[in-house]
């Protein structure tokens, strides 16, 4: 394994630990979706986005909007690691008086936009991409959507606008973990054939294993996938990824681990780290 890949994969282990610590101290959070999205966020913030605490207000910086705002713990873990705020602050998530509240807000350094009501982020990203074009700036706008929130019609309105305006500075990533709060997406309100839907809405589409770090780096670095079209990366993921007993369990959407579960999780993550360090 290449050093850079090992470095990133070790970061993913650390981020998973940070997510579980945040959720257990807060007594609330969205474990399953955090763990399905974290490898994507890892690659974005460590390999793709030209953002840093020093350039947080640079008009040419890339933008990232996390539409699946409920998975803010994963975003906090990555932003703290990238130095946008002190890691110690992660112990205050959801506490009275903390700026690290239960969904993203612009009050937090590094966060570009408030989200929380599902289905809003893509249209905001479209606005940011349009502004970049109006301003003649070359920044790119990335947004991360959950698959459950694709039930919201606003995503499809925004997709029409993105294609209509040919926004190839827009890269939409879908965390396709197949589950939403009450069960499988295909039982709640079927999304398939999802790739065909996106293509027919005008996206240039690629599919990737959303936990395959080198594949994510390659795919995201290759955007735009086609000139004159918005890009859509359909990232196939596992809800609860990395913690065996949480994987593919809709019940872990917002379950907080018990003390015994945490012990098992620490052991599993320690084993993952040891395997990487020995590789």
């Amino acid at each position: 394994m290449e050093t850079s890949e090992r470095t990133l994969r070790l970061k993913s282990v650390s981020y998973r630990e940070a997510i579980l610590r945040i959720i257990s101290q807060a007594g609330a959070g969205h474990t399953g979706g955090d763990l399905s999205a974290i490898d994507i966020l890892n690659v974005l913030y460590n390999r793709i986005l030209n953002v840093s605490p020093q350039t947080a207000s640079d008009p040419d910086r890339d933008r990232f909007v996390q539409s699946k705002g409920h998975c803010v713990e994963a975003l906090y873990a990555v932003l703290a690691d990238r130095g946008f705020f002190p890691s110690a602050e992660l112990d205050t998530v959801c506490r009275y008086g903390s700026r690290l509240i239960g969904h993203p807000t612009r009050a937090v350094p590094g966060i570009e936009h408030n989200t929380g009501a599902l289905g809003h982020g893509l249209a905001v990203a479209v606005g940011m991409a349009l502004a970049g074009r109006l301003d003649g700036r070359s920044y790119r706008v990335f947004t991360l959507l959950g698959d459950g929130e694709l039930d919201e019609g606003s995503n499809w309105e925004a997709s029409m606008a993105a294609a209509h305006y040919g926004l190839d500075n827009l890269i939409v990533i879908v965390d396709r973990n197949g589950l939403q709060i009450t069960g499988p997406t295909e039982q709640v309100n079927a999304l398939e054939p999802l790739a065909d839907k996106f293509r027919s809405f005008g996206y240039a589409l690629r599919q990737v294993d959303g936990h395959d770090i080198p594949a994510l780096v390659e795919a995201l670095a290759s955007a735009p996938f086609e000139r004159g079209k918005p890009s859509l990366l359909l990232a196939h993921t596992v809800k609860g990824k990395g913690i065996s007993f949480a994987e593919n369990q809709a019940g872990w959407h917002h379950r907080v681990p018990s003390a015994a579960e945490l012990e098992r999780a620490w052991a599993e993550l320690a084993a993952q780290r040891a395997a990487l360090e020995g590789s």
Partner: protein, 312 residues
């Protein structure tokens, strides 16, 4: 008397002026640009005009993204759609992060006319007023519409709701009028009653005060064009009379009447309040004047309600 003008028409012209003064102004519309008059901006600055199609919620969120990236977006469609249809987007994408976005609600109120209840926005002031960080402006005439539009593109900041109508009204403000946010304009003083009005109802209130004067009733008329932040000092001043009256082309619940009732109740001990507007009902199809007549919002209707309340 000056020529009567529709505030939505004056707004369209002022928007071009705003675009000339500020090159960060961008304009969005949802397939109604001829009616909202944003077509004038489209023709003058096509590169800063974004047609979103009939997708109002998408338009509001897109405006948030534009604002977050340094533009000053003016969002255009009918008042009913921009407020009620897009409430969640306005609340979370614009008010919560306090972005400078101007929501221009066109053809507001009963005087929308023939389209009926679905298109007659009678709750929009209440909806917008309840949102934290939102500024709510209801211009009385063409002069104030231009002043507010330029201010919204200039010195004002944060989320702004600008309520516009399609009913021709005479100018009640002087040409050299300077708009000050949160400052009501006393158009006429009077000892017996203070009539606090907004929008199309300001001109009607001025005419009503003339009629009341003929009956020996001395009525002050105040243009309460900033609904939020409310000019509470003017409300307190109004309370020095025997009666306070609010007049609006809007439900008596939650709009100007609601805001004034809250301000009066907080100090207590004053005169009674008469709220004129629609009384918890939907609109219906008719010619604008027929609807104003039905709801007692003509100069005669207002004068008669005021005289009646004073005689009790």
């Amino acid at each position: 008397m000056s020529e009567k003008r529709e505030t939505r028409i004056v707004y369209g012209e002022a928007l071009v002026e705003a675009g000339q003064r500020n090159d960060r102004v961008a304009v969005l519309d949802a397939d109604l640009f001829k009616s909202t008059r944003s077509v004038l901006f489209r023709d003058a600055f096509p590169e800063r005009f974004v047609d979103m199609g009939i997708a109002e919620m998408d338009m509001v969120s897109t405006a948030a993204g534009l604002s977050a990236s340094g533009m000053v977006p003016f969002v255009n469609t009918f008042a009913m759609f921009i407020t009620a249809h897009c409430y969640d987007q306005i609340r979370i994408q614009i008010c919560y992060p306090r972005l400078h976005v101007v929501l221009a609600g066109s053809s507001a109120g009963l005087t929308q006319g023939p389209d009926g209840a679905s298109h007659q926005s009678l709750e929009d002031i209440a909806l917008m007023r309840a949102l934290p960080k939102m500024t709510v402006l209801v211009p009385a005439d063409g002069v104030e519409t231009r002043a507010m539009t330029l201010a919204a593109a200039g010195q004002l900041d944060g989320p702004i709701y600008l309520r516009l109508g399609r009913y021709p009204v005479p100018d009640v403000l002087p040409e050299d009028y300077v708009f000050e946010l949160g400052r009501a304009k006393w158009l006429r003083d009077g000892d017996d009653v203070a009539i606090l009005a907004c929008g199309h109802m300001v001109a009607a209130a001025v005419d009503a005060a003339e009629k009341l004067a003929q009956e020996g009733i001395s009525a002050a008329v105040v243009n309460m064009s900033t609904i939020k932040p409310l000019d509470v000092a003017s409300v307190h001043e109004a309370m020095r009379r025997r009666l306070v009256v609010t007049v609006e082309e809007h439900s008596i619940i939650g709009g100007l009447g609601g805001a004034v009732a809250e301000a009066m109740a907080e100090v207590g001990g004053g005169p009674r309040l008469l709220r004129l507007g629609t009384r918890d009902v939907f609109g219906e199809s008719a010619v604008a004047d027929e609807l104003l007549e039905k709801h007692g919002l003509t100069p005669d209707g207002i004068a008669s309600s005021v005289a009646g309340a004073l005689s009790h």
